[in-house]
C-alpha cells in the first residue's frame, strides 16, 4: 500500500449507505443495494482531492465490533492489521439511536474519526430533526450530513476528512456509568505487561470483559491464571450490577448512552403513515404478499420478453443482411468465413444479448434498490426451511438471475458453511442473464413465450428438487433466520443506471470479446474442418444420448466459456440464419439443446468463483451435479416428447 496517501476506511452498520457514499466519491466501484450485507469484501480506491491523494476503503457493514458473519470479520482485519489513518463512521440517520451503538464502540478505539449522518432525506421524512452541533459535542468528533444517493454533502465530507487528518485529534472514549467504569479501570491497571494490547489499554480491557471469543479466554487462562481469576471476578461484579452477563451489561451501557445522546440531540415529530408504509404492509402481507411475489416475478419475465423480442427482431435484420452480402461477395473463402464469424460475434452481442440483458439489469436493479430482496427472504423463509435452507439464501438466488458469480460471492453472509455449500451448489442452476437470453431468444422467440415461461418454472421446480436431494446429503441444522428488514426506498434512477452501466461495461470489456473471438475461432476451425473432429468425439453424447445434430458438439465446448456462446455458435454450426433455424432442427431438439446447455456445467467464471470461495471439492461436486442433471433432464425431455 502507498505509504504517502492516508488510508481512510468506511465503517458502519449494514445498509447505511457506505458503498453509495464511496461510489459518489470514488466513482462506481462497489455494489450497492437496499439489503443489509451487500458488500462482502473490501473495495479500495485512490481519490484525488485538492491535489492530494487519499486511499479510501469501503468495507462490509457490521453491527458491532464482535463479528458473527464471515464478511463482518473483514472489518476487524482492517481496523487492527492495516491501521487506518482515519475512520469514517457512516450512520443511517433514520436509525440514529441504534447506529450510535457501533459509533460508541468505534470511539473506544481512539482513532481519528469522522461521523457521517447519511440518509438525511429519510430521517427528515421520518420526522427526525438532528442537532449536529450538539451531536458533535457529545461524540467529540466532527459530524457531517450527507445524502449519498444524490451525492449531497460529499465535498463537505472530504474537507472534514482533510481537516481531521491534519489535526490528528483522536476520538475520546465514551464514559459509562460509575460502577462499570470502576471495573474497567481496575482491569486496565492489572493488565499484564505482555498482554496483547489492541488499539489502547481501555479498549483492550473492555473487549476482555466482553470476552469476545471463548478462545481468547482460553489463551488468557493458559498464560496467566492469576489474571484470568481477576478477570472473572470483575466480570461477575459487572454481571451482578444488572443481573445479566457482563457482555450484556456493557452492551446495555452503550445502548442507553446511545438512546440518551439520541434524545438530547434529536427531536422526533410524530410521523404520518405514508403511502410507502401502506405498500410495505401489502407486499409483506402473509397472504397477499405471495400473490405479489408471483406477479412481480412473472411480470418481470414478461416485461423483459416484451421489450426484448421486438428489439431483437429489429436489431437482427441489418446483421443478417450483412452476413448474406458477405457470403454472396466472397463465396466460401477463408476470408468470408472469418468475416461471417466476426459479424456473428458482434451482431450477436448487440442483437441477441443486449435486448434482454439491459431490461433484466434494469428490473433487477429496481428490485434491489426498493428493498424487495429482504422482503422476499421473509416471505420465502418457511419454504426454504422445507428445502433445508433458510430465507437468507433467497437474495442470493435472486441475484443469481443476474449473474451467478456475485450470487456465489454473496453466500458469505451465511453463517454456516453447510448452508454456503448447499446454496453455492444450487445457484448454478439459476438461469442467469446469459441463460435467460438463450431461453428468451431461442425458446420464447421461436416457440412462443409460454414455452419459455414453462421452461423457467420447470427450472425453479428443478432447483427445489435438487435442494431436497442435497438436504439428504448434507445434514440439516439451519439456524433460524435473523435478518434486518430495511425500509422501502424510492429507487433513484441514477443508482439503477450506474448498476446497468457497470454491468454493461463488464460485458463489453470481458464477455463480448470472448463472444467475438469464439465466433471467429469457430469459423476458422470449421474452415479447417477441425470442428468435425470435435464433433465426432462428442458424437456419442450429442447425437447418441441427446439426439441432436452432430454438428452442435463443438458449441458445447464454447458454452463452457460463456453460455451465450453456445447459442451464437448454434447458428454458425448448423450453417443457417436466425430465421431458418426451425427448418433444420425440431422443437424437441431445440428444448433438449437449451436444457443441456443451461445445466451441463457452470460457466468458467462461475466455476472459478466456486473454487475460490469454497475450494476444489465443492467445485468438483458442482460439476458432477450439473452434468448428471443436464443428462437426466435432456433425456427426460426426449422421453416425454416421444410419448406425444
Amino acid at each position: 500500500m502507498n505509504n504517502k496517501s492516508p488510508v481512510i476506511v468506511f465503517i458502519g452498520q449494514p445498509n447505511c449507505g457506505k458503498s453509495t457514499l464511496f461510489n459518489s466519491i470514488a466513482g462506481y466501484k462497489a455494489q450497492t443495494s437496499n439489503f443489509p450485507g451487500t458488500t462482502v469484501t473490501h473495495v479500495h480506491s485512490e481519490v484525488l482531492w485538492k491535489g492530494k491523494v487519499y486511499s479510501i476503503v469501503d468495507l462490509p457493514g457490521t453491527y458491532s465490533l464482535a463479528p458473527h458473519e464471515p464478511q463482518e470479520k473483514v472489518v476487524l482485519t482492517h481496523i487492527f492489521k492495516e491501521k487506518p489513518d482515519l475512520i469514517v463512521n457512516v450512520i443511517d440517520a433514520s436509525l440514529l439511536s441504534r447506529s450510535l451503538e457501533l459509533t460508541l464502540e468505534l470511539l473506544e478505539l481512539e482513532y481519528p474519526m469522522v461521523v457521517v449522518l447519511n440518509m438525511m432525506d429519510l430521517a427528515r421524512k421520518k420526522g427526525i430533526t438532528i442537532n449536529v452541533e450538539e451531536l458533535e459535542k457529545k461524540l467529540g468528533v466532527p459530524v457531517v450530513k450527507t445524502v449519498a444517493s444524490r451525492g449531497l454533502g460529499t465535498d463537505v465530507l472530504m474537507e472534514t476528512i482533510e481537516n481531521a487528518l491534519r489535526c490528528q485529534t483522536r476520538s475520546i472514549a465514551p464514559c459509562y456509568s460509575r460502577e462499570v467504569e470502576k471495573r474497567i479501570k481496575e482491569l486496565m491497571d492489572i493488565l499484564p505487561e505482555d498482554f496483547p494490547i489492541v488499539a489502547n489499554k481501555r479498549f483492550t480491557a473492555i473487549k476482555a470483559i466482553e470476552g469476545e471469543t471463548l478462545a481468547a479466554d482460553k489463551f488468557i487462562s493458559e498464560h496467566d491464571l492469576a489474571f484470568k481469576q481477576e478477570l472473572d471476578r470483575l466480570r461477575q461484579e459487572i454481571s451482578a450490577l444488572r443481573d445479566a452477563p457482563a457482555y450484556e451489561v456493557i452492551s446495555a451501557e452503550r445502548h442507553h448512552l446511545a438512546l440518551k445522546i439520541f434524545e438530547d440531540c434529536c427531536r422526533v415529530a410524530r410521523p404520518k403513515v405514508s403511502a410507502i408504509d401502506k405498500l410495505d404492509n401489502l407486499i409483506m402481507d402473509p397472504v397477499l404478499g405471495y400473490f405479489f411475489l408471483l406477479v412481480i416475478f412473472a411480470g418481470m419475465f414478461y416485461l423483459i420478453f416484451k421489450v426484448g423480442s421486438p428489439l431483437e427482431t429489429w436489431l437482427l435484420k441489418p446483421w443478417e443482411s450483412i452476413r448474406l452480402s458477405i457470403e454472396s461477395h466472397f463465396g466460401r473463402s477463408l476470408l468470408a468465413e472469418l468475416l461471417v464469424g466476426l459479424v456473428q460475434g458482434i451482431g450477436g452481442g448487440i442483437a441477441i444479448v443486449f435486448p434482454y440483458f439491459i431490461p433484466l439489469l434494469f428490473l433487477m436493479g429496481f428490485l434491489e434498490d426498493v428493498g424487495y430482496l429482504a422482503r422476499a427472504s421473509f416471505l420465502l423463509d418457511a419454504f426454504m426451511h422445507r428445502l433445508g435452507l433458510h430465507g437468507k439464501s433467497v437474495p442470493m438466488f435472486i441475484l443469481g438471475f443476474g449473474c451467478n458469480v456475485p450470487a456465489i460471492m454473496a453466500t458469505r453472509i451465511l453463517e454456516s458453511r453447510r448452508d454456503r455449500i448447499v446454496t453455492a451448489l444450487l445457484i448454478p442452476f439459476i438461469p442467469c442473464a446469459a441463460r435467460t437470453t438463450i431461453i428468451l431468444a431461442l425458446v420464447a422467440f421461436l416457440l412462443g413465450p409460454w414455452w419459455a415461461l414453462g421452461f423457467y418454472f420447470f427450472n425453479i421446480f428443478l432447483i427445489a428438487i435438487l435442494a431436497l436431494i442435497l438436504k439428504r446429503w448434507f445434514k440439516y441444522d439451519s439456524p433460524g433466520l435473523i435478518l434486518e428488514i430495511p425500509s422501502l426506498k424510492v429507487p433513484s434512477l441514477k443508482s439503477i443506471w450506474q448498476k446497468i452501466y457497470f454491468n454493461l461495461k463488464e460485458f463489453v470489456r470481458f464477455a463480448w470479446p470472448i463472444l467475438i473471438a469464439g465466433s471467429v475461432l469457430l469459423s476458422f476451425l470449421s474452415y479447417l474442418q477441425f470442428d468435425r473432429l470435435i464433433n465426432t468425439i462428442l458424437s456419442p453424447l450429442v447425437s447418441g444420448l441427446l439426439g441432436l445434430p452432430q454438428s452442435l458438439g463443438v458449441t458445447l465446448i464454447f458454452g463452457f466459456l460463456r453460455k451465450e456462446l453456445s447459442l451464437l455458435m448454434m447458428f454458425q454450426a448448423l450453417g443457417v440464419g436466425y430465421g431458418q433455424l426451425m427448418t433444420v432442427i425440431t422443437k424437441t431438439q431445440l428444448l433438449t439443446f437449451v436444457a443441456f446447455v443451461s445445466f451441463f456445467i457452470p460457466c468458467l467464471s462461475t466455476l472459478s468463483i466456486i473454487w475460490k470461495e469454497l475450494g476444489k471439492k465443492v467445485t468438483m461436486m458442482s460439476v458432477a451435479l450439473n452434468l448428471s442433471v443436464a443428462v437426466i433432464v435432456s433425456w427426460l425431455i426426449r422421453l416425454v416428447s416421444s410419448l406425444f
Binding site: S94, Y247, G480, I485
Partner: protein, 100 residues
C-alpha cells in the same frame, strides 16, 4: 393476561409471572423485552442488532406455514425478521402505560 395464541407444536413452558414468549403475543400490541434466552451466540447477535431488554417492541406480522415473524423495535425504530425458534426465546412483558 394477554390474549394467548395456541401453538400446538411448541408446548408452552411455565414462565415467570407475566412473562411470555414473543410467539404468544397478539400482533400490533406493544410489549417490553424482559429477557433474551438461548445461547450466547444468539444473545450477542440480538444485542448487536439493537434488541435489548427494556426495549419496546411490537409484532408486526407473521409469515404463513410457520414462517418467521416480523418484529419492530419501537425504541430504536428498526425491524427484523426472526425465525420462530428464535422469536420463542425472546421473553416479553406488558409495557407500562406511561411507556406506551
Amino acid at each position: 393476561m394477554f390474549g394467548r395464541k395456541s401453538h400446538s407444536h411448541n408446548a408452552v413452558r411455565p414462565y415467570a409471572e407475566g412473562l411470555c414468549s414473543l410467539l404468544e403475543v397478539p400482533e400490533g400490541q406493544i410489549f417490553k423485552i424482559a429477557e433474551i434466552r438461548g445461547g450466547q451466540g444468539l444473545h450477542r447477535r440480538l444485542l448487536a442488532l439493537g434488541f435489548h431488554p427494556g426495549d419496546l417492541i411490537t409484532l408486526d406480522n407473521e409469515a404463513i406455514m410457520n414462517g418467521p415473524v416480523l418484529v419492530r423495535n419501537l425504541t430504536t425504530g428498526t425491524r427484523i425478521a426472526l425465525g420462530r425458534g428464535i422469536a420463542q426465546k425472546i421473553m416479553v412483558e406488558a409495557a407500562g402505560s406511561d411507556e406506551q
